[in-house]
Symmetry: C2
Subunit: 126 residues, 2 copies
């Protein structure tokens, strides 16, 4: 159900990082982050749409509305991952993990981090 589009993800990224923000905040963050050639009213419109979709919450108490993410980053990532698993990996999360592992560039420390996670789950079929 939670499947933010591209532009929506960019905005959620800002909200996750900055916390509750005004349109202006988001607009400037986007402009700073990337070559964000996106107009102010575009961001406003997107936030309005995202409010309808319940992706963000809007506080209208002050004239300048304040928006906050209504979905967590982890949950959203989960949804996007399982979406991709369904669409391109025949429903197999394992296939995705293996593919990601086999092409990702990881430092030894990172490999170790993965190994630790595996250890925690040893014999755990969750």
């Amino acid at each position: 159900m939670i499947r933010p589009t591209n532009a929506e993800l960019a905005i959620l990224g800002v909200l996750w990082q900055r916390g509750p923000s005004t349109v202006r905040d988001v607009h400037e963050a986007l402009r700073a982050a990337r070559g964000g050639v996106v107009g102010y009213t575009t961001v406003l419109k997107l936030l309005q749409i995202m409010t309808e979709k319940k992706l963000v919450k809007r506080d209208t108490r002050s004239r300048t509305h304040v928006y906050a993410a209504a979905v967590s980053e982890a949950t959203t990532r989960d949804h996007l991952l399982s979406d991709l698993v369904d669409r391109a990996f025949g429903g197999s999360s394992l296939a995705l993990v293996l593919q990601a592992l086999s092409t990702t560039r990881a430092t030894p420390a990172e490999l170790e981090q993965i190994r630790r996670l595996l250890d925690e789950r040893k014999g755990d079929s969750r």
Copy 2:
């Protein structure tokens, strides 16, 4: 560059599985696989578009054209993964792997498979 849409992925899935196929083949495979309520000419049109996009190759020697995937499954998966990494994981493949691992349901055997892959890459910063 290789970013098949949803419908395109479904078709590529058939081509990867069946090998070179006619429109009719693909159409029937889709209909069989899912509740594939998709018309014959829809599949045809998609294959034509995919030919333009170089996602498939078309052999027109016989009247009934034969289509074959022009992109490999592994490469396509890579592209989709790195796309998702960029869009939703701040560019960190590691973050994606960790997230996928922490929510995926894996049997001990599967965990072992992952561990073996890690072993192969030990000290390998590729």
